[in-house]
Every structure is written in structure tokens, then in C-alpha cells.
Amino acid sequence: MARYILINSFRGLLTIIFVSVVVFSLARLTGDPMDVLAPTDMSDEDQDALRALWGLDKPLLEQYVIFVQSAAEGDFGPSYLYRSETAAEVILDRLPASLYLGFVATILTIVVGVPLGILSAVKRGTIYDAIGRGFALFGQSVPEFWLGIVLIWVVAVQVGPIPTSGMGTWQSYILPSIVISIFGIAALLRLFRSAMLETLGTEYIKLARLKGLSEWRVVCKHALKPAAIAPLTFFGQLSVRMITGATVVEIVFSWPGVGLLAYEAANARDFPIVQALALFVAACVVVMNLMIDIAYAYIDPRVRLGEGTAS
């Protein structure tokens, strides 16, 4: 078990390094930040001075080394866009907004997706199943940005109390979280449905019924636990995506989170922020995968105790 964790951690570290190199090089390829950021009347000397300040005049490899060294200490450099702050500060400043939204969306996804998926499986073939599957199909087919726009339009036409942009009262969470979670609900629903259907068809479920257990207990105790194993993997990736990948939704709803920040920073060629964000996202995914692997091992005793077969 410990060995398992160690190996996976190593792989994760490699991933993060890889991502950092890729983003670093790509960012440098985008061109000179001066072209975008410097006011047109800034003199050449001033531009050079700024470049020197930011270390942009050094050779690439050296820049990378500096970057890694500083990053290890938590220093990601100054933000080019927001001159008075460091990249780390800017990101940390905007992070909570994304976290809150992602959290709400995750809760919504679980609360709606899992029961619907289970219901669909248990009531297979009935109208509930059809509705569930129809909804899942829709959720996986609808483009998020369009859904957001249409919802905003509908709400605006109705003149309801729901705000349609920016982050504010709890109502402002409604639309963006719905849009973010639609895909997740659909996917979770399908995953749970098929996992449950598979479990419900096994012999040990038959045996559980033979013992005289109520259908409720059969489903909740015996079917659910083995069924939850597969969706778990997906769920991990999903929750990370909800936090870090909600860029498009944040743009549509002008939500001041890291997604919107990524958009702004990329357009502004703010290297430090872009690099730091990329690292952050990669690190989140890696950590999440690691946690999933561990959870997997815990739930499925066959993995935990090693693949022990009977004597």
C-alpha cells in the first residue's frame, strides 16, 4: 500500500514538471509581453528596464531554473497585469470565487446526479428511467456557453430576482452553478446507472434477496458500494474540472474566479500568472488522482490487501 502511494506520487510529480515545462515554453512563445502591456508612449529604455526587472532578458533555460527555484518557495514572480501584486497574490485573491462556485456545483452534481442514476437503474425500463436517460443525453450534448447565454436571456426576459452576472448574493450562484453542473450530472447519472445495473445483476445480489432482505437494503447496502467504485474515478476528475476548468462559464457570467483570470492573463501575456495557474491546475489534478487511488484501495478490499487469491 505504501509502495503504491509512493509510485503514484512520483508519477504525479513527473506530470507537474512536464506541465510546467510545456507551459513555460509556450508562454515564452507567445511573444513579448511589452507588445501588449506597455503603454504606447513608454520609451524603449523604460521597456528594457522593465524587461530586466522581470528577468526577461536572460536566456530561456536560466529563466526556467529561476522559475523552478522560486516556485519551490512559493514565489511565482510579479504579475505583469496587476503591477502592484505578485502572481501568487493575484491568484489567491481570485481563487475563493472559483472554489465557492465549484463547491456549490459539486454539491449540486452529487445531490442530483447520484439519486437520479440509482433511480434510473432500479426503475429500469419505466418512465423514470426514460426521463433520467433523456436528461443525461441532453446534459452531455448541450454546449455550456450557449446554455448560459440562453438561461441569462430567459431570466432577463422574465425579470426575475436572479442576477445574471458577477458574484454577489447567493442568488448569483444559481445560474452559473447550474450550467457548470449540467454535464457532471449527466455523466454521473449515466455512470451510476450502468454501474448499478451491473451490480444488480450479480449473483450476490440474488443471494441477498434470497436471505429475505428488503429491496431497499439490497440496493443501498449491497448494490451501491461495489457500484460506486467506478463512478468514483470520474467524480474526482469532475470536481477538479469544476473548480479549475470553469473558464468558459466564468467568462459568460463574468464570475471573478481563476478561470476568468486565465483568460485575462493569457491575452495579456502575463507569464507568471499563466505559469502559476497551469501549475496549480496540474497539481490539483495530480493530487485528486492520488486521493482517488487511495480511496479506491480503501473501498475495494481486493486492492487494499493486494491481489490475494485463496489457497
Binding site: L207, R209, G212, R217, K225
Partner: protein, 356 residues
């Protein structure tokens, strides 16, 4: 108690050692099935898995149900506990009397109380029968708790250990902590048996209990079942495709073909004097140890699809002795001599295929 050579030719079976042998001293049957019909409705049609089956199981005896795959025997077993696959499977007719009471009209809630206490079942593949994510102890305890929520922790543990011991499981305390994948197939099957016998039901259905076990373990398990029957008086309905198993453990046997029972009677009788050509064919096609034929006899053709059954006798297409009337109408059940030996064949009386 029983002896059978590898070819199953020599049979000194339970019928000789007391048990339910003569008609006169039969008590009321603990399980009586009358004209049971279980059909499966799928988008490809109606499958008549169990089509008018009647049989009886008496206290303390073992009744074997033998037939090839697709004969409907597993569906018969599921029907007896009313666990036909939903929504496709429906019990369309007949009665099932368990301990004198017809269980078909009962509500599901009442039925759940009956399952595990009056009737229970062990399944074919022990590798699949236990939930892999819970310990054996957990699942065994559940068997006790489901019918008596007030049982205390310690009592459950004691009874679990006792149940495992009665199935001759060594080191029962340790087994409780094991997960299923840490046990061998034979051991798992014993655990399943222990769960089934938790409340000492009157009827135990064993659906191909040894098919998935190693050959060496098979005999052991069958002896265990017999021993169980001796101690507790449980009646066993043993479903199998293996005549050797029948010979070893059953008092009576019913032969199933294409959804119907074509012959039933005491084991010795059936072996010596099969009154249905299919039974004869089954008996003939077993490999023998005493001589090696040039070709292993087998029955040509396939059983009819249960979606699309012929009008007359269902075995007629493959039968060497079929006549015109066989194809026109389904033969009625005829018993001769011992009224407990009956067969559905137009030519059952002359039985041109029999030894005598």
C-alpha cells in the same frame, strides 16, 4: 451412505436406507408444486421457461432435478422463491405449496419473511455469490439479523460461528474477518450454505452447487449436504445436469426437458428402468469406465427453443423411437407399477429402449 463408481453404474442409494421410500409412509410433502408456469417476456417473444411443472418434495428427502442447459431448471428454482427476473419474468399459473401454504398469492413482504426461514437456496458459482466488498462475518451476520433485528452482537457472533461449524468450516472465528476473495471456492460454498441454513429452513434448494467446484471438492461438498440432511432433516431440491451427482445424493429424481418434467421417480428405478427415451439417452451418454466405446453416444440435434415450442412431444425431433402421434399431441403423464414413477411418453409402457 452412498456409493457410486465413477461411471455411476453401481448405485446403492438412499432409497435403501430408510427415508421416503414406500408410498404408504409418506408424510405430507413439505413442498408441492402444481402446474407451475413461469414465462419470460422479452422483446424477442415469450419464453416458456417453466411450462406446467408439478412435483413434490417430502420431509427429509433429496429430490434431484436433472436436465441440460436451457431446460428451465434454474428458472424453476427461482420461481420457487419468487425471485424471477423482473420485469421480464412472470409466474403465470399454478400453485406452490410450502409447508402446506400456497406462496404464490402472498404479498412480497410476507414472502421476504419466508425466504431464509422456511426456504432458502444456494447458488451455482460460489465465486460470485458473496459480495466482494464486505467481510464474510458481515454477510453471515446479516442472514441472522434480517429476520430478527433485536439480536445482540455477541449472539450473532456465536450463532455465526456455530453455523460455520455445522458446515465444517475450520477456524470459523478467523473466517468471520475474511473477505470472500481470501477464501477458496469450496470454502465460500460452505459459507453460503451456512447462510442458507441460518434459520433451519424446511427446504433447501441447491442450484448446481458443485458445478463450479473442483472435482475433488465436489464429493466433499455433497457428503456435507447429506450430513446436513441427516442432522437437521432438511429437504433438499438438488438441481444439476450431472447424473453422477444424482446417483450419489438423491432419493428421487425428476428429469426436465424444454420446460417440462418428462419423467420422475425413485433414483434406482429411473436408473434401471427409464420410461422416457430422453432419460435413457442421458443415461447412455455418460462416459463409462468399464469399457471405452468407439464413439461417445450423444443425442443428435438441440433442444427446441423455449420461444418456439412444437405442438407435440418436445423430444420427438431427436427421438429414435418417435411415432406420428408423438408429433401430434403432447403425451400425458403415465405411471405404471410404483405410482411414484411416472413419465410423459406415448410409448412409456412398452419402453422399447429399456433394458428389460
Amino acid at each position: 451412505m452412498t456409493e457410486a463408481t465413477a461411471g455411476g453404474n453401481t448405485v446403492t442409494d438412499a432409497a435403501d436406507t430408510g427415508g421416503a421410500a414406500t408410498p404408504a409412509d409418506r408424510a405430507a410433502p413439505v413442498l408441492k408444486v402444481c402446474n407451475l408456469k413461469t414465462y419470460l417476456y422479452t422483446r424477442w417473444g415469450v419464453t416458456k421457461a417453466v411450462d406446467d411443472v408439478s412435483l413434490e418434495l417430502y420431509p427429509g428427502e433429496t429430490l434431484g432435478v436433472v436436465g441440460e442447459s436451457g431446460s428451465g431448471k434454474s428458472m424453476l428454482a427461482l420461481s420457487l422463491v419468487r425471485l424471477t427476473p423482473e420485469p421480464a419474468g412472470r409466474i403465470e399459473g399454478g400453485q406452490i405449496f410450502l409447508n402446506g401454504r400456497d406462496i404464490l398469492p402472498l404479498s412480497e413482504r410476507v414472502m421476504r419473511k419466508i425466504r431464509g426461514t422456511e426456504i432458502s437456496m444456494i447458488l451455482q458459482d460460489p465465486q460470485q455469490s458473496l459480495n466482494p466488498v464486505y467481510t464474510v462475518g458481515n454477510q453471515l451476520a446479516e442472514a441472522f439479523r434480517v429476520h430478527d433485528a433485536s439480536i445482540g452482537e455477541r449472539q450473532v457472533r456465536e450463532r455465526s460461528i456455530a453455523a460455520l461449524e455445522s458446515m465444517r468450516v475450520p477456524a470459523p472465528e478467523r473466517r468471520l474477518r475474511n473477505f470472500p476473495h481470501e477464501m477458496s471456492g469450496g470454502m465460500k460454498q460452505r459459507v453460503v450454505g451456512a447462510m442458507a441454513m441460518a434459520y433451519q429452513p424446511q427446504v433447501l434448494i441447491a442450484d448446481e452447487p458443485t458445478t463450479a467446484l473442483d472435482v475433488t471438492i465436489q464429493a466433499q461438498f455433497l457428503r456435507l449436504l447429506e450430513d446436513l440432511q441427516q442432522r437437521t432433516g432438511v429437504s433438499i431440491l438438488l438441481i444439476t445436469h450431472d447424473f453422477g451427482v444424482i446417483a450419489e445424493t438423491c432419493h428421487r429424481v425428476a428429469v426436465m426437458y424444454a420446460g417440462r418434467i418428462v419423467e420422475q421417480g425413485p433414483v434406482a428405478e429411473i436408473f434401471d428402468n427409464p420410461r422416457h427415451p430422453y432419460t435413457r439417452a442421458l443415461l447412455d451418454s455418460r462416459p463409462r469406465v468399464d469399457f471405452v466405446p468407439d464413439r461417445l453416444p450423444s443425442v443428435g440435434g438441440q433442444p427446441p427453443s423455449l420461444n418456439d415450442l412444437p405442438v407435440g412431444c418436445r423430444f420427438a425431433a431427436r427421438c429414435d423411437y418417435a411415432e406420428d402421434r408423438c408429433r401430434e399431441a403432447y403425451p400425458p403423464q403415465v405411471s405404471q407399477g410404483d405410482r411414484y414413477h411416472a413419465a410423459s411418453c406415448w410409448r412409456a409402457e412398452q419402453a422399447p429402449w429399456s433394458n428389460r
